[in-house]
């Protein structure tokens, strides 16, 4: 591992300690003075004020200058830490995080996509951020990094995972109903293992199920739909096939049976028929192929 | 109380018709100038030229039509404060826009 490399955590934590320390000293000082004065000069002990001093130029100068110096130090220290967060080390691994309501999907330079962000331990990683809809926030507390994922804007973060492990990614910018469920993972693995994973031939996942999962990963379907019957933002896939669904089509209510045709339509043109009790928010999966739709439909069929 | 007696001063000043018409004529001339200036190819300078003339025009309107010239100093101070505020809002926003 490159010893010169300062991780983002190492850049931020000392700033925290410095500012916290300074603030704690100030706070304790003020509190102590207040308590001392209140106890010493309470009316029962000090029935009349013993001074009517109403100002002191010297004191004012001192307590203007002192905080000024202190905050200048805080500013400078905070700013230099921030610069570390913004300066991506050379040769960082390039990855892309795509955020959509309400799921993350990650892409590598060789075209590989994944729903977890696999990274090699000890190597800097740059994550380029892209949003498909509203503003999201890419937040990994373990690395002290955060950056908003703004549609139409090129933002990025970088980090280096010093130890193998799995770290939470939160969506920090409020983005609607599924905001708090928009949780991803950074999986830091040893470099050799990572390279192997990255280059492993696009393992032809077996049949429809494999392809369906690919779709789910790419379009973030499982951010809104569950496969186990639990309620999310969209209807669950479990037991959907063959059931009767109440929908609104073109302003009129009707009941349909969830057959192949209906499911295909729901996936390709979600706005055509809106299921009762759900908001019309499902995005049309752009560039989905017919084979993929069919695979998803088959997959849903299998979920009894 | 200084600004308490102020309702005596200031507001009684009357601007003559002649003066007002003179201001109006200058405003029209300035309008012609802006249109002319922006026809010439000045590049980005055009924006600044047009804005400068607009500032002169509004200065005239404020000073004479709106009687600012004859009001107490307080009015000019607070007007300045308002303008500076707007300028600062625009200026600081550009720290983001220009360096992004």
């Amino acid at each position: 591992m490159d010893n010169q490399l300062i991780s983002t955590t190492q850049a931020v934590d000392p700033v925290f300690i410095f500012i916290f320390g300074a603030c704690l000293v100030m706070l304790l000082g003020i509190t102590a003075a207040m308590i001392l004065f209140v106890v010493r000069y309470r009316r029962s002990r000090s029935p009349e004020p013993t001074s009517d001093r109403d100002g002191s130029l010297w004191l004012e100068i001192v307590w203007t200058l002192l905080p000024t110096l202190l905050v200048l130090a805080m500013f400078y220290y905070g700013w230099s830490g921030y610069l570390t967060l913004r300066t991506v080390p050379k040769g960082a691994l390039q990855t892309k995080a795509v955020a959509r309501m309400w799921a993350w999907s990650f892409q590598y330079e060789n075209g590989k996509t994944s729903d977890k962000l696999y990274v090699p331990v000890g190597k800097p990683v740059q994550v380029n951020l892209e949003s498909k809809d509203v503003i999201h926030g890419f937040f990994v507390p373990a690395f002290r990094i955060k950056r908003d994922v703004v549609p139409g804007m090129k933002n990025h973060v970088w980090f280096v995972a010093s130890r193998p492990g799995s770290y939470d990614i939160y969506c920090s910018q409020y983005c609607g109903t599924g905001h708090s469920a928009m949780i991803g993972k950074v999986e830091a693995v040893p470099e050799a293992q990572f390279t192997a994973w990255l280059n492993e031939a696009k393992e032809e996942k077996e049949g429809d199920e494999g392809m369906a999962h690919e779709v789910f990963e790419k379009f973030g379907c499982l951010g809104c739909h569950s496969t186990d019957g639990s309620q999310k933002v969209g209807p669950t896939f479990k037991g959907l096939y063959g059931s009767k669904v109440n929908v609104t089509r073109g302003g009129k209510k009707e009941t349909v049976t969830a057959d192949d045709g209906y499911l295909t339509e729901s996936i390709k043109t979600p706005a055509a028929a809106i299921v009762e009790g759900f908001p019309p928010i499902m995005p049309a999966p752009e560039g989905i192929t017919d084979a993929q739709v069919k695979a998803v439909v088959e997959f849903i069929k299998g979920l009894k | 109380m200084s600004d308490h007696d102020a309702h005596k001063e200031g507001s009684v000043h009357i601007v003559s018709y002649g003066q007002l018409v003179a201001v109006w004529v200058s405003l029209l001339l300035l309008t012609v100038t802006t249109v002319a200036v922006t026809r010439v190819d000045l590049g980005a300078g055009k924006v600044w030229a047009a804005l400068a003339i607009a500032c002169v025009k509004s200065g005239l309107v404020i000073a004479f039509f709106m009687h600012m010239k004859y009001e107490a100093r307080l009015f000019r101070i607070i007007f300045f404060v308002a303008l500076v505020t707007l300028a600062v809002f625009i200026g600081l926003t550009f720290f983001d826009v220009l360096y992004r």
Binding site: - | D3, A6, H7, G10, S11, I14, V15, S16, Y17, L20, V21, V23, W24, L27, L28, T31, T34, V35, T38, R39, A44, K46, V47, A50, L51, I53, A54, K57, S58, V61, I62, F64, F65, M66, H67, E71, A72, L74, F75, I78, F79, A82, T85, L86, F89, I90, T93, F94, V97, L98
Partner: protein, 200 residues
């Protein structure tokens, strides 16, 4: 109770000016956006400016300047004790407001006819800056138009008071404040005109 407070004309004008500052900053928000987007899309803004009708814009500038003159003269008139000419001058101002709005109406309808209105297919599919330019144009001139209407109504109401004789040479701060509002409408236009019509 208010009627027991001594009349305070300077105070009334001070209050009016403070209110005008808020109006200034209200438009200021739009001007901030204008400045930012102009810096980002100079070409689209210039192309958009070309589509606006300079003749109508210039005419409207002259109309507003004239209305402002008449309003200022109305103040002089009432202070010199001529309520009749005051009313006449105010009518002139309001007339100019009407002309302004009519011209504006034709301008907007011409734009609509060319498929330029907020959210129109042409703007949605056009180059990015174009939609921004025209949206700002419609918002700014629309807001300004509302101010013209409000100002006109205000001056009409004040005019009737002058007519009824409740505003006089000694007691005219309401008229002064009304015209101050009107001049603000003019001031804003003084900036709208070069920024939208002339930045070619």
């Amino acid at each position: 109770m208010s009627h027991l407070l001594p009349r305070d004309d300077v105070g009334a004008k001070l209050g009016m000016w403070l209110f005008l500052f808020t109006e200034l900053l209200l438009f200021g928000g739009l001007f901030i956006l204008y400045a930012v987007y102009l810096a980002r899309y100079p070409h689209e803004f210039s192309a958009g400016g070309h589509e606006l009708n300079v003749v109508m814009g210039t005419t409207n500038t002259v109309v507003l300047l004239t209305s402002s003159l008449l309003a200022a003269m109305a103040v002089t008139a009432i202070k010199t004790g001529k309520p009749k000419s005051t009313v006449a001058l105010l009518l002139g101002t309001i007339g100019c407001a009407g002309i302004f709005l009519v011209i504006k109406y034709f301008e907007w309808s011409a734009k609509f006819a060319h498929g330029i209105y907020p959210g129109s297919p042409r703007l949605v599919h056009g180059p990015p800056g174009e939609s921004v330019f025209f949206s700002l144009y419609f918002l700014t001139t629309g807001l300004h138009g509302i101010h013209v209407v409000v100002g006109g109504a205000l001056l009409t109401w004040i005019g009737t008071k002058v007519g009824k004789g409740s505003l006089t040479a000694e007691n005219n701060v309401m008229l002064e404040n009304g015209t101050l509002y009107w001049h603000l409408v003019d001031l804003v236009w003084i900036f709208i005109f070069p920024l939208y019509y002339l930045i070619l």
